[in-house]
Assembly symmetry: D2
Homo-oligomer: 345 residues x 4
């Protein structure tokens, strides 16, 4: 059994890691940290885990933490992660970091969108943990930068077209809609039930911090420096991201050819499902699962392609992808512990 540590167990991502890992046959959760809930059982923080995961949350110094697990999931905010991860790595541990701190290759870019970076020396070795794109590198990594939820939902659908040079890279627009769990479990007026339910809004229009992460990875895939317009919106649902992505086709392409391209690009992938022509994905069909479902449509009238992708932001967009990365890092079957069925209705 691999001993896994969850740093930041009381957030929604931490709770989701506990949910997934509690069913993983090769892993035991050996330590869970939380400053706010230190001394409490995880099942007091998350009553759904009663009788399933009863580890007690602790508030630990790094020195006490490092010996308690073989691999760590750091599910803490950016800036906090960069203060913890180096010590874990230096103690010889593997780390799957779920923050943004090690996703951006260029520290200048990071600092432009976030704040000063104090662990720049680890940026180069960090591997961007999108298994469908970077599987080999992840296998060899000791630090995996787990992708952001929005980036996962945008990079996966664009990869087949960008890799094949089929898009005009100056025309990319991603209009994304996320469930409210993406805002975390912190108490703030904007996340209250009454503020969110029966409503819908855009936020951080043109300014969301996931923008440089998305552009970086799309640039790698296309081989051309590109920018994209990215607009996040807040959905009155707990879980789920749907991204609607637009781009001008570099050449004419028929619907059937497009479908074949996606089917063959992702045909061997366990966690990517391509919708048949004429059908499109819905967030409720991936709820609680590690799937990314993708639909694609050629709009001949406008010369554009429209891509629609959905993920569960807490699973493929966070904890599930982190466990998928852990499986690769540890040499397990990649889908171990992740073969749940989406919960619908």
């Amino acid at each position: 059994m691999v001993r896994a540590g969850i740093v930041g167990a009381s957030g929604y991502t931490g709770g989701e890691l506990a949910r997934i890992l509690s069913l993983h046959p090769e892993v035991e959760i050996s330590v869970a940290t939380s400053r706010n809930y230190a001394g409490k059982k995880i099942s007091q923080v998350y009553p759904h885990l009663a009788a399933i995961a009863d580890i007690i949350c602790e508030d630990l110094q790094i020195a006490d933490l490092v010996s308690r697990a073989d691999i760590f999931f750091t599910a803490v905010p950016h800036q906090t992660a960069m203060n913890i991860v180096p010590a874990l790595l230096e103690a010889g541990k593997k780390v799957i970091d779920l923050s943004a701190d090690f996703r951006i290759d260029d520290p200048e870019v990071y600092e432009e969108w976030y704040q000063p970076h104090t662990a720049r020396e680890f940026l180069e070795e960090a591997v961007y943990g999108l298994p469908e794109i970077n599987r080999e590198k992840i296998a060899a990594a000791r630090l995996v930068a787990n992708p952001g939820c929005y980036p996962t939902s945008i990079i996966l659908p664009l990869a087949p077209l960008l890799k094949n040079g089929l898009l005009d890279t100056e025309t990319l627009i991603a209009d994304s809609k996320s469930g409210t769990s993406g805002a975390g479990r912190s108490a703030q007026v904007g996340s209250l039930f009454c503020e969110v339910t029966d409503g819908f809004r855009a936020y951080k229009v043109g300014e969301h911090r996931h923008t440089p992460e998305i552009e970086q990875e799309l640039t790698k895939l296309s081989g051309k420096k590109l920018t994209l317009s990215f607009t996040p919106h807040l959905l009155p649902v707990s879980r789920g991201i749907l991204s609607t992505i637009y781009g001008k086709l570099a050449r004419n392409i028929e619907q059937e050819e497009l479908y074949e391209l996606y089917s063959s690009f992702y045909g061997h992938e366990k966690f990517v499902r391509i919708c048949r022509p004429g059908t499109f994905p819905a967030t409720q069909y991936v709820r609680g699962s590690n799937y990314c479902d993708i639909g694609c449509k050629v709009d001949h009238r406008t010369g554009r392609v429209v891509l629609i992708s959905v993920i569960d932001n807490l699973v493929k967009g966070a904890a599930g992808q982190a466990v998928q990365n852990m499986n690769i890092v540890c040499g397990f079957e990649e889908s171990l512990g992740l073969d749940t069925v989406p919960l619908f209705p």
Copy 2:
């Protein structure tokens, strides 16, 4: 008192007309038709109207219908409307038609997206009922084609930029999200609570019938024949449409200038509210009201403008705008009966 008839009173739009008209000081609902609920009080169809509107729904032949009101709201599906409206007009009545049948100027275009048109002779005189754009023509009309919900949410925010030639008209994309009341009150699996709640999906990608209506009106505003990409989505809310609209700027423009343009274009309009720079609208802030709230953002990184608009699809997107048109047609104060306050939370 003007006697108003509601043809199709049992749908959500019909119920909303009853709600709004029951508070209108110059109007009485003199007749309400429904095939399915004939003989029932409107308050049995819609219990929220108990003690407010107690008219009995009838299933009438046109000949019996025409004499029963001075002005008619036809809140029936397309194709049904074209079988009713001509007789009402020929009897000298005014008609606010809430279907799509008289919105498209060119019958060829209509027939390409809908089905054969059997009342082509009325297309020319029908006035597209968007008061903020066509107020004068509406005042003189006997047949007002009340705009579609999506088109209202897209044309209003684009008008200031297109009228001023500030957009590259080959780059327009409208990504729209609608509440489920837009699907009507007919019993179908796809509209069931369990299919919609806690979920989100796109539908009719690149194929929605509102597309030619939007393109027609935008073409008039810009003076250039244009196409746009239009993707509708289904929100797990009852009411509300939010449209996120993208376009390349024809020239550089600063945020403050953009805001001034919108403020001055719509400053005198009672039902259009412009969000201050840095803030964006939310559907819950217009719930139950006739407002269209608009936010605008210049994204200098990409050279695009992003427009965000919200309406209540049943009010400004249907029944409220219809009453606004009726007020104009009848010479009433344009906001009469429509000065409700949005219901939040």
Copy 3:
């Protein structure tokens, strides 16, 4: 015009008072206080009020506050109210207090369920502001204790039976379900969207502070000291309370007789609607309105009556009833400013 002051304008009840009063033809909001949002327009606190109510929130000392209005709505938490209300009364102002501080006649009882009472001398003159029961007293009051939301939903349906001695008063049970706006707009984890949506729970079982208020008023109605079991639950809706109330019938009674009793007891009341036999109310049919809808059912199998009532907790359960009380106090038509139509769907 009566000048009305809202003390505590930034909570949901304060915002609802602003919504309702902004349409009241005889009232202007002359002052609005908020500690947290001092200096901000009410439309920045509540964007739905943009272009409707643009008063600026202030953080005022009592001395500055008293002169600014003729009548005050104190929409602040219990314990805070008792520190403000006496000074307002002493300055000759009328007060509609929406807290619990002046609802309980017996200070011992108040202190048992709340905390020490520092304004006991005003308890006697305070009138319990349920107009359908206490209309005459309210008209003469200078301090109206606006009822709690749960009590309103329980006292109104029980009054006809208790006044007529038709219930065994030892068998009363009220199982109530409230929308989340009842928890207020304060940022707390338990009110977050993700904690509430798609879920349901009971809370404060047998311990809710509205219990003594309900028992006090029911005791007055029945003339017998009584206790009741009261269980509140949290609904994943913004607005609305539904109370299901059980009691043993003191004598057999037929369904039709029961319906007649309710119809005649409340037949003249504008804001109480009795559902026909076989139909029951739903919270969505009173949304945004001041109605209390009541359904009643004799269950001959068990010898019990089942009463079902619904209100909008922010309207008839708080701000709407407060304005109804203000109308009575000021001598206005009781429904002035309150004749909105429920918003459905």
Copy 4:
């Protein structure tokens, strides 16, 4: 591998059986029937099952059906089940029937609440499939009558008190609230998203067909013929039932003693979790799982006990309990395939 057949695969219960069985290590779904979706893959009926369960739905005559599986789940409406089950039994198959047709021992009672019974000869051997109460009988049964969702949520919490004679059996009231999936996947106006969301209502007050089933089982547990008041309500959630149950205590009992009673009664049960004193269950904490969580409270003021139970109506209230019964019938570990973790948020 056991070959399992799902009769009625396209309803929500059928889809849930497919979800659960697709992960069961000892079962394969060998046949799935649906009249409306014959010829379609189950993943076209339920897109969340894509790449997981791809069996094709068939419309089969009984003669063709019987040979296709070893055990059958009949997930069809009452009255339909009684036409199918006898033939399956006569062919030597085991049946878990999810309808109401074999739950009521007394055919007179059945016919009073439902319609004529055409398979009375099987009533005596049918075993009421509540494993926590009837485990031994289930193990020996060839026909298991899977309990109703409401009855499961009411019988389990009452069993410890009734078995120990601690309740006055003339005072029982169950106030239950169910998610909308309980209404099934049939297209009807009352189940539309816009009719249900942001609302709450009671229905079939005092008349719900689960009443005789509940009374029958409670009577067996208590040894005394009893009636109870039962009021179902419709929650705006997909999944979940919460029942709030009231009864007079036969003797005084302290909170701690009550908690001990429940803990010891259910301590060995995998799927029943008892909430610690002062805490109560919530439907979202059992979502997607086979748990029944129970909280109990002594209210000394009124001499009543209040019990609160939650289940997922599609799992412990239907498909999950059916698989639990199948495991017992087949001699598998009782929790096989059911050890999922509730999905929260």
